[in-house]
Each structure stands twice: as structure tokens, then as C-alpha cells.
């Protein structure tokens, strides 16, 4: 959607209804989740999702810095989503940009909607998401990684929070867009869900959809999240059956 005036537009959907990487419209990219790869963090997770590589770490509940943010009746959730300089085609200058700050905000609000924050008054639960290699859907991959890292850290929550983006490409609603689809598609709708209640705790959208398309996109996202949810639970089960290994070690 950020490609007004760009030079060439690829064909996003074949006559057979297959996408540029051969997926069907309702098919997810390959997803691998590893719980607990890091040694210093209280909880961590590494997610490879299509060509995305995202690491998340959780520290806390711990003392609040800066102090004046402390709340007397609950923990605060602080989130920092960051992209490594080399994670994108054109090198990204290190440091927080506006996009990262906005994403950090909506992710923090999503987790505040599920964490039992009142159990840890006057503390901070710090969630760090590092995008090491990006290919569309990094905020969803970040939510999935951070959610598993929170569980790995033993933070009590209503439920895990699966997340996926639904989009519109070549006029069709499609699950889990990859980069070319995101760049040249008509809409992108990242969402994150609490499976227990079926409610959305993160939702953004950009592009254009009719109300009817949007309705179908929400339904497709719910289905996608359920499938991701299973993989998240499996990653946490694996954590305690195999030795934790570092990122990339298959």
C-alpha cells in the first residue's frame, strides 16, 4: 500500500487462484516457534515465519524505570518493538522511528488487555521485540513471539495471544500477506485475538475494503489465529521436553 507511483506491479494471484509463493488464499506461511532461546531474559521466544525472523524477550515483573511511571495498583507493561538495521532491504538507521513507536504502543495495549497486571503492583513487565529479518507481518510475528516469551517468563495471563494479518490482493481476501502482497495489495488488516473469548486485542487496517469484505477478513483472521494458537502451545510444551537451544539451531 505504500507504493503509489512505483515502477512495476507483480501479478499477485494466478488464474488457478494461487499466490506468488504458491499458497492458497487461506494458507499461512510456514511458522516455527522456539520458546526460551535466550539466557539472560526471564522469558524469550524466537519466531521464523515465512521470511521473517523475530526474537522476543521479557523481563519482569521488575522495578519501574523511570520511577514516575510506577502505578500503585498494577504492573505496567512496557513494549519496545525494534527493527535491526539489516532486517530490511534498505538499511534502517538505528533508533526509534514513528512506526516502531506506534507498533510498540498498540502491542503494549494488547498485552495489557490479557495480563493479570494487578497481581504485581508497582512493577514493570518489559517486552522487547527485535525484528532481525523482515518480510511483512512483523508486528504479528512480534506479538506471537512476545506472547510465548511472556508465558515462558511465567507471567499470568488470560490466554496466549495469536496474531495474523489478513489482506486483500487482486480483489480477494487473503491470509498472512508476504512482502510483495503487502506492497502491491489493496488492504492489510493485522489482528491479534484472545482465543478464549474470541475478542480482538489488536486490530489495525489500511487500504480499502467494503464492509462485506472486511467482515469476511475478520472471520478468516479468526481461523488463522486458531491455527497459530496451536503452534504456540506446542512450542511451550516443547520447551520442557527438549533442551532449550539458541536461535537458528534447528
Amino acid at each position: 500500500m505504500g507504493s503509489v507511483g512505483a515502477k512495476e506491479v507483480p501479478v499477485l494471484l494466478s488464474p488457478e487462484g494461487l499466490r506468488i509463493d504458491g499458497r492458497r488464499l487461506d494458507e499461512l506461511r510456514p511458522l516455527r516457534i522456539q520458546a526460551g532461546p535466550l539466557h539472560q531474559a526471564d522469558g524469550s521466544a524466537f519466531v521464523e515465519w515465512g521470511a521473517n525472523k523475530v526474537m522476543a524477550a521479557v523481563y519482569g515483573p521488575r522495578e519501574v524505570h523511570p520511577r514516575h511511571l510506577q502505578q500503585n495498583n498494577k504492573a505496567i507493561i512496557q513494549c519496545k518493538y525494534n527493527m535491526a538495521a539489516f532486517s530490511v532491504d534498505e538499511r534502517k538507521r538505528p533508533g526509534l522511528d514513528r512506526r516502531s513507536q506506534e507498533i510498540s504502543k498498540v502491542i503494549a495495549e494488547a498485552f495489557e488487555s490479557v495480563v493479570f497486571a494487578e497481581e504485581f503492583p508497582r512493577t514493570s513487565i518489559d517486552v522487547y521485540i527485535e525484528v532481525l529479518q523482515a518480510n511483512a507481518g512483523t508486528r504479528c510475528a512480534g506479538v506471537v513471539a512476545a506472547s510465548v516469551a511472556l508465558a515462558d517468563a511465567g507471567i499470568p495471563m488470560v490466554d496466549l495471544v495469536p496474531s495474523v494479518a489478513v489482506g486483500k490482493i487482486a480483489g480477494q481476501i487473503a491470509l498472512d500477506l508476504k512482502k510483495e502482497e503487502d506492497n502491491f495489495g489493496e488492504a492489510d488488516l493485522p489482528m491479534a485475538l484472545v482465543p478464549q473469548s474470541g475478542r480482538l486485542v489488536l486490530m489495525q487496517m489500511e487500504g480499502h475494503m467494503t464492509p462485506e469484505e472486511l467482515s469476511r477478513a475478520l472471520d478468516l483472521g479468526v481461523v488463522g489465529c486458531k491455527s497459530i494458537y496451536e503452534k504456540m502451545k506446542q512450542a511451550l510444551r516443547d520447551r520442557y521436553t527438549v533442551d532449550a537451544v539458541a536461535p537458528g539451531a534447528a
Partner: protein, 262 residues
Amino acid sequence: MTAEVTAEIRTAHILDLAGEGKRLDGRGPDEYRHIEVEPGFVTTADGSALVRIGDTAVLAGVKLELGKPFPDTPNAGVLTTNAELIPLSSPVFEPGPPQPGAIEVSRVVDRAIRAAEAIDLTRLCVTPGEKTWVCYVDLHVLDHSGNLIDAAMLAGVSALAHATVPAKRFGVAEADYPLDLQHVPVECTFVRLGDALVVDPTFSEEQAAQGRVTIATDETGRVVAMQKGLVGAFSPDDVREMVRRALVHGDRMRIAARGGTT
């Protein structure tokens, strides 16, 4: 009684009222506040509009300057949206670099303008790959009495609707000409108060809210952007309901965007 305790009591009261389908200021759950748009408020801008939604006031100014297109979109103009949540407008804003709240406002407005293709960016290009108009939309919040996103969006799109391209002043054409607005996106924001989804929240209602959803629509009936904010959760059916309501309010706001009162 501390400010925190007062706020807690007010929140409880707002939630109680919402349970009965009522609101602190007497509005119904789907009732929007009075909207007022004053285009051309600032003559140093190439386009401007002062928008008031109830006691909330946002001033938008548009400036056009010549610059270089981005390398990956050589045929397109550049649009930059910036929101300043200055401490003049509310006791909750602090001086310093833009806070996440200000960044969210500017990015949500920016996305709606861009996704709706309100401006045909390719028409802003003067010489492909070399020279283009850079269009700055600056959103200056003056009075923060709730629902900044809708007010900022309406101010921004109104300022664009009344903007002039200073082509003569910059020496690239014989005369200045109006900036053409091909679509008119507006945002409509709801908050959850218990089971109620109320439109156009006041500042107190935002403090009490259990989640916020903003839906941007254009005049063709399409949804062009959405943003869930604050702590809280919404079912897909909630979203469908809010989309339906946002389309109705949107039409009223689009009339106001051209200048005037609704």
C-alpha cells in the same frame, strides 16, 4: 480527595450510566457532538481549518514545498502528516519530543489520507525522479476534550480540501491552483463502556474506556483504515456494528469537511 480518587469515582459513574444507555453529557450512545469547521483560519498556510467537536479544538495547516521524490516512487509526491499534542491543550501532555499518543494520532490520520487516496500523489510530481511537491499536514491540538483522532482527521482533510498549490510562488507554473481532493476520508471513533459501544467519546469517557476503535471511511462507503487502541477487547461482531455506524456518521462529517456546522 486526590485526583486519582476523583477519576475513579467518575469512571464508575460513567460505566453505570452506560449500562442504562446514558452518558454524562446527556447524549445517546450513538450521538455525535456538535461539529464546527472554519476553513482558512491561518493565512500563512497554503490550506488550513480549525475544527471543533464539542469542546475539542484542532487546527490543521497544510504547507506545500518543492523537494525530491523518494527513490522507490519517482513519480509520486510526498505527503507528511505530523501531530503536535502541545501541553497548551491539556494537563496530560508534557513538553518534549512527540509522545506515543501524538505519534498514533498522526499515523492514523496519515494512513486514512493515504489509503483513501484523498490526494492523487502522482499529480504532485513535477519532474519524475527529480522534483515534486512535498505536502505537509500539521495538526495542532488546541483543546483536548476527547476524541482527538476524529477532530484531527477532519481538520486535516478540511485543510487539504481548501488548499492551494503555490505553483506561481515557487516558479513552476503561471498561477497557483487548488489542490484536488479526489476522496474525502473521515474517522469515526467509538469506545467500549461496559457492554456499550459509544461514539465520539469525551476525555472522561476515554479515561473510563475499555478499549477504543477508530474506523475511517470514504464517500464511496469503503473502509480505508482502522485502529484499535487502549486496553480492551472487541469481538468481530462489535467491529461489524461499529463499521455500520461509522459509515452513517462519516457522511455527516464529510459535509462538515467542506466547511460549516453540523
